[in-house]
Amino acid sequence: MAYSEKLIDHYTHPKNVGTLDKSKNNVGTGLVGAPECGDVMRLQIEVDEATGVISDAKFKTFGCGSAIASSSLATEWLKGKTVDQALTIDNMDIVEELNLPPVKIHCSVLAEDAIKAAINDYRVKNGMPALELEEKKH
């Protein structure tokens, strides 16, 4: 299975690997996947409270190259977006950008889930109701 150059680049030089302080109120953390399934993604956003813009995003991922690249790409896309804009990121955008093969589409779904979980964590921390999330097939 040949991977795209963009995917390999994200795997080789992942962007925004790291950890944000999850105790901070303006940091939202999403942890999705399971070790038994072979992928776990943790994605974090830090929101500028004055503007509502995501000022920083970090990830750590246990998984295959496609999972690592999907989360790396997601953090890049998140930075500079408002929380509402971030919600519009669709897994198929990730599939297209990284040219994921069909068997790896679930990696992009996981990345979208991680974004939404991080946003929900941020919302709940800040007194907003969690969003109902539609179930996507993995």
Binding site: Y3, I8, Y11, P14, V17, T19, L31, V32, G33, A34, P35, E36, C37, G38, D39, V40, M41, R42, F59, K60, T61, F62, G63, C64, G65, A67, I68, P102, V103, K104, I105, H106, L110, D113, H138
Partner: protein
Amino acid sequence: MELKLPIYLDNNATTPCDPRVVDAMLPYFTEKFGNAASRNHSFGWTAEEAVDYAREQVAKLIGADPKEIIFTSGATEADNLAIKGVFEMYASRGNHIITCTTEHKAVLDTCKHIEKLGGQVTYLPVAADGLIDLNELEKAITDKTILIAIMYGNNEIGVIQPIREISKIARKHGVLFFTDGTQAVGKVPVDVNADGIDLMAFSAHKMYGPKGVGALYVRRKSPRVKVTAQMDGGGHERGMRSGTMNVPGIVGFGKACEICMNEMEAEGQRLSKMRDRLEAGLMQLEEAYVNGNREHRLPHVANISFKYVEGEGLMMGFNKNIALSSGSACTSASLEPSYVLKALGLGDDLAHSSLRFGLGRFTTDEQIDYTIKAISETVLKLREMSPLWEMFKEGIDLNSIEWAHH
């Protein structure tokens, strides 16, 4: 000597043809192209002679009589022929087969097929080290048992089953013993008489011979074993396997067996030394675990789990330069990791984190050094970006987390 990349460490999947094997085969594609079944001209006689000679070479490697060798298209066909052939031939005696959970799919799926035909199959579990329990084997035997099918050496973890003890139990109860010798023959001494084997499948391409040719050993004396043909036609191979003989392939198989016979002892020592060095080098990493019994093992195989990194992701870090296999299959079609590692009782997390190393005749010390370095670096790099590693380092019990299963 300069190190040439990529490095091939997947010799359990297949091996390159030894150039000596290729040299032996070449004339049989062109000037000596005859059909070994052509009885009335010299082209046929030449081909038949070549097949006869190869049959002797193959038989010699396993201590068999040449008449006990049936050439097939490979080990999968030989597995099928042995199990289905015995099931049909001995139907009047019983319908029960005993095998184990770590067998190759060619055996397991054939057994599943037998179940569909109304046969009974017992799948013995294995211990954490990959070995079957002999008491359980004996207890599983009933008056309907016709066959015990236990592999010689495992393809994923290299563990060698107690073949002689198994055959003793089989003999005691008058049950036939079939072993899938694909990974073991040519690598460790296999002797069908000393080992008490009644039927054995093996393949050329795992021992530096060509793909597309293998053999089934079928014992002719004490007891005389027969299998019902699964391929009907011209009655080749004493009626047990019809189809035009793959003469060049068989010649190559014979040569490959002869080379293994002559070089096995020294080569086994060289490989186990290199394998042990590879293992020692990689075990320097924290949270690295060798899978399977380390004492009863093929000399060229190592299977190691690097906890908190995923196998496929790990391989991507070096698969441009090193070719090997992982026990992880991270696809939407199958999130299931290796069934062999799971049969050892490994958690899915460790099974997903495994790499299988298959060293071979052309593996060098320099390649091992390079591999230790490249893999260690990738493991460390990926752990730095693994949330599980971070949790482990913070002392968080991963089992205490409620994971979102998908």
